[in-house]
Subunit: 137 residues, 6 copies
């Protein structure tokens, strides 16, 4: 029987953002997003948990090298988003509203393309201690 196991690695970044959709009017944006629509941005300490699932290598006892995974997350995600304004400083959110849902999906796509296909991947993103998302469900 194959023995699949999941590992989780937690990283973090600090960023500014503003919720605003190009597909909504100013009134609709204000109504839907409330304080998150304030024009001059606010920000968060984002806590990012990467979950990777696969089989344990019987020689090393590792499923994946946590350091290799951490370096990949740092190169693909943290370097690009940390201490940035997601709306202004990143190509990913130029035309995409930086909700927690969309940020998690963007991070998933970045890592999915770098991770070997034998691994399953999930992204868990804490916007605050009380609000977080997981993709895919």
């Amino acid at each position: 029987m194959s023995k699949r196991i999941s590992i989780y690695r937690k990283e973090h970044f600090n960023a500014a953002h503003r919720l605003n959709s190009d597909l909504l009017s100013a009134e609709e944006n204000a109504r839907v997003f409330g304080k998150c629509n304030y024009p001059n941005y606010h920000g968060h300490n984002y806590e990012l948990i990467i979950k990777v699932t696969g089989e344990v290598n019987p020689v090393t006892g590792y499923m994946i090298d946590m350091k290799v995974l951490s370096d990949m997350v740092k190169a693909e995600v943290i370097e690009k988003f940390d201490h940035k304004n997601l709306n202004l400083d990143t190509n990913e959110f130029k035309n995409l509203n930086p909700t927690a849902e969309n940020i998690a999906m963007v991070i998933y796509d970045k890592l999915r393309s770098k991770l070997e296909s034998t691994y399953d991947l999930k992204v868990i993103l804490y916007e605050t201690e009380r609000n977080y998302v997981e993709y895919p469900a």
Copy 2:
């Protein structure tokens, strides 16, 4: 491909309870529930995490409005249970033993009836930092 995502919202309430089953004798209740069966109640800071799964709205970038969800949880659960004695002050636990399992299932039923059927729902309830339950499994 539909892109389903989960969001989590954390709320809390403080309540008193006592574990005691109408279907057991006093001796059995004392044996099964130990200190949790003490007659004059004890209490907990319950941490409640609501997990909702669905598709992201491409216009807003929201899967569900966290504020709407939070308000629903507050109206349906927190207002009813916060600073209450679950055994004495609530209809739900008049004849139902307020174990963490039963509290989670009661909260699930309350929210399931309010939440559109396109959403999946899970309830995670921390009775203490070291004991928690998730329903459905």
Copy 3:
């Protein structure tokens, strides 16, 4: 030079209570204590941190044996308050309103009488993650 150091030991207990002062009318109690005055009690997971200050024993490298301290806290505090209704089940709060302030001061008095006088003592009591007290200041 004497080298004084502080050690902290964290314990916890779960209890029910109700805030109500014998020195206030029913109306005043309801106004001052709000939901905390509900008649049938509510409860908390109390996190208790004991801080002891003294000199390090050069033979052992211990300032105080953490296990001895933990056993003292368990015997003097946890055994008496855990899974109890503070208002109904304890002598200490029969005529004393079990606010966080008063609980901390009662615990201080219990431990102060057991701890050698060369040690300084502080009690930190978390009623919730967001409300806590420290005695003496």
Copy 4:
């Protein structure tokens, strides 16, 4: 003997900021503040702990009403800073670099002027889980 006790109340707000001093050149600002000087702002989930010290009221068993304190903090601090850009949206940091040190001192001054002088006050501000400040020392 007077019995002084401290209570702590934890609140939070999310804000954007950028570290930049009017008294330094662009090169100096970049060197001193590094990523925190990026022009388009980043942000944080600020955790704010207010510590108040005073005597316990023997009638109520309260040193201060935690709800009154929480409402004061919300009115004086949270309403003004939450979901704001500290540099652009607040008068306090128009000409003052919003370092954690300066934010804590501004919050202290706001609350000190509202709190009766018999109370001692400290402000503890977490910028991240690993970086925080306390004022006054």
Copy 5:
């Protein structure tokens, strides 16, 4: 419909270990495991979460008695690994590299053999706050 629910119980143990595989050369071990391969061991505060899934007993309102589960984990795992050197003091890791993955799988096998087969079981093991594993996936 059967109503399956999951409960989680958190325990902890402190242990020393060193990552080194009998199937690799000294050079390969140093390269693969880096600082974790240092010859004289290092250690961790392991946080262990046991997840058990089953149906709620309608008489008690318990799915499983948390105390019975906790005692089983203490007897089968904590007593054997707490304050031990996993490589030197345990039979389980004499010839098995004590990676988080392997420790979780060993703990799973120990508990699986004790737990009735109607229950599902998962083991979640935190090696640090930022690195953890879940078995089975």
Copy 6:
């Protein structure tokens, strides 16, 4: 009036240790230190908080550059103790029992000699989530 403020910086390291005093017999060591005296070492995830107190620089708004402080702690403490066996791999604990008290005092001396004398310094060391020390008191 000078305005002194404290900043806190949290770092961590993982290490193995064994409590054993050269000044005690084997029987005394076993009695005093219990499981912590087991011959083959156990280990911890040490969380280290450095508290520095001083005046805010009115030009920068910094009391101390958190990055400079973090780099100092990494160079003086983390590099030396992380993933090490404190008893075997360090000069500091060759003849000094590595209790939390002694580790905190050793770290204090290392940093005190590097930090300008205008700053006050405290070291807070968590051996576990429930046991920690602060030096000086």
